[in-house]
């Protein structure tokens, strides 16, 4: 919508009126800003209410615990049947004398190696034959 006034006379009146300055308001600007600041910083009631509610709850629970009738200790006997152990589940005999006796002692072995070199080592149980079998010996064995 056009906000112009087409009548020249009304235009002049409009301009004359607009030239009038509204009387300065009797507002105390500083006091107004102070009050506005107070109003904008007013405490919200959410957190105080939450704190009061939790405090009341804690006090109520404390009173409840203090006044509660404590029941005596309850003894319950439970019988548990254990299955008999099978032979396969017997523990292995791991007495140190039995398995350690068949092995060369480490310190003796070290001494033999130091004094005789590799010849000091005990012979291997399944050592290979010194000579390969000849064909004639194999045929003779048939």
């Amino acid at each position: 919508m056009s906000e112009n006034v087409n009548d020249p006379g009304l235009n002049a009146l409009e301009a004359g009126l607009q030239a009038l300055t509204p009387r300065a308001p009797g507002l105390n600007r500083d006091a107004l800003m102070f009050r506005a600041g107070q109003a904008s910083a007013q405490r919200r009631w959410v957190w105080p209410l939450a704190a009061a509610a939790s405090t009341l709850l804690a006090v109520g629970l404390g009173v409840f615990l203090a006044l509660r009738q404590e029941p005596g200790p309850r003894v319950v006997t439970v019988y548990v049947q254990t299955p008999e152990s099978s032979p396969s589940e017997k523990p292995l005999d791991v007495a140190p004398g039995k398995w350690a006796a068949g092995l060369p002692r480490y310190s003796r072995l070290v001494e033999d190696v130091w004094s005789h070199g590799l010849n000091g080592l005990p012979p291997e149980p399944n050592s290979a034959p010194d000579k390969p079998a000849k064909l004639e010996d194999l045929l003779r064995s048939l």
């Binding site: 509204p22 300065a24 800003m33 109003a39 904008s40």
Partner: protein, 160 residues
């Protein structure tokens, strides 16, 4: 709303808002101050703070006017005791007191539109929203008010 924005609103619009509230009540400054305090505490701040302020001032001024009327048992001569609405002027075609009296004799709905548009700087759309009419109705009231003021101020009609 931050203090800077609020201070700017006060500096720019307090005088016009007080003039707007003076149409209805004598305690215009109190009404405007309350409106500024209210706008500062709005969460979130209004989208159009100026329009919001005018609406709050209007509602507050009308409420105060009702209570003032209840207190008064005589209404004659009230207009004569109302302080001047404008600063005294010299060298301008219109006298401040004469303009004040002429404005006070206008019908309330017309005067409201003139004050809101000329000194408040509101558009006719905003005024329509403020007073609950259409923009064209506000514009018609404005033109009618200017024509009535021209008669009351004895200004000559221009020759066409």
């Amino acid at each position: 709303m931050g203090p800077d924005d609020l201070g700017r609103l006060v500096d720019l619009h307090a005088a016009a808002l007080v003039l707007y509230a003076r149409q209805w009540c004598a305690a215009a400054e109190d009404v405007v101050q309350e409106a500024f305090v209210k706008v500062a505490s709005q969460r979130p701040p209004p989208d159009n703070p100026l329009g919001w302020l005018y609406r709050v001032v209007r509602n507050g001024a009308l409420a105060v006017a009702r209570s003032e009327r209840r207190r008064r048992h005589h209404e004659r001569g009230v207009a004569a005791r109302v302080p001047a609405w404008f600063e005294p002027t010299e060298g301008i075609g219109l006298d401040a007191e004469t303009a004040t009296v002429a404005l006070q004799t206008l019908p309330g709905d017309q005067r409201e539109v003139v004050v809101a548009h000329l000194w408040g700087g509101l558009t006719f759309e905003q005024i329509g929203q403020l007073v609950g009419t259409s923009a064209s109705t506000a514009h018609r009231r404005y033109l009618a008010a200017l024509a009535a003021l021209r008669e009351r101020l004895h200004l000559p009609c221009p020759k066409t």
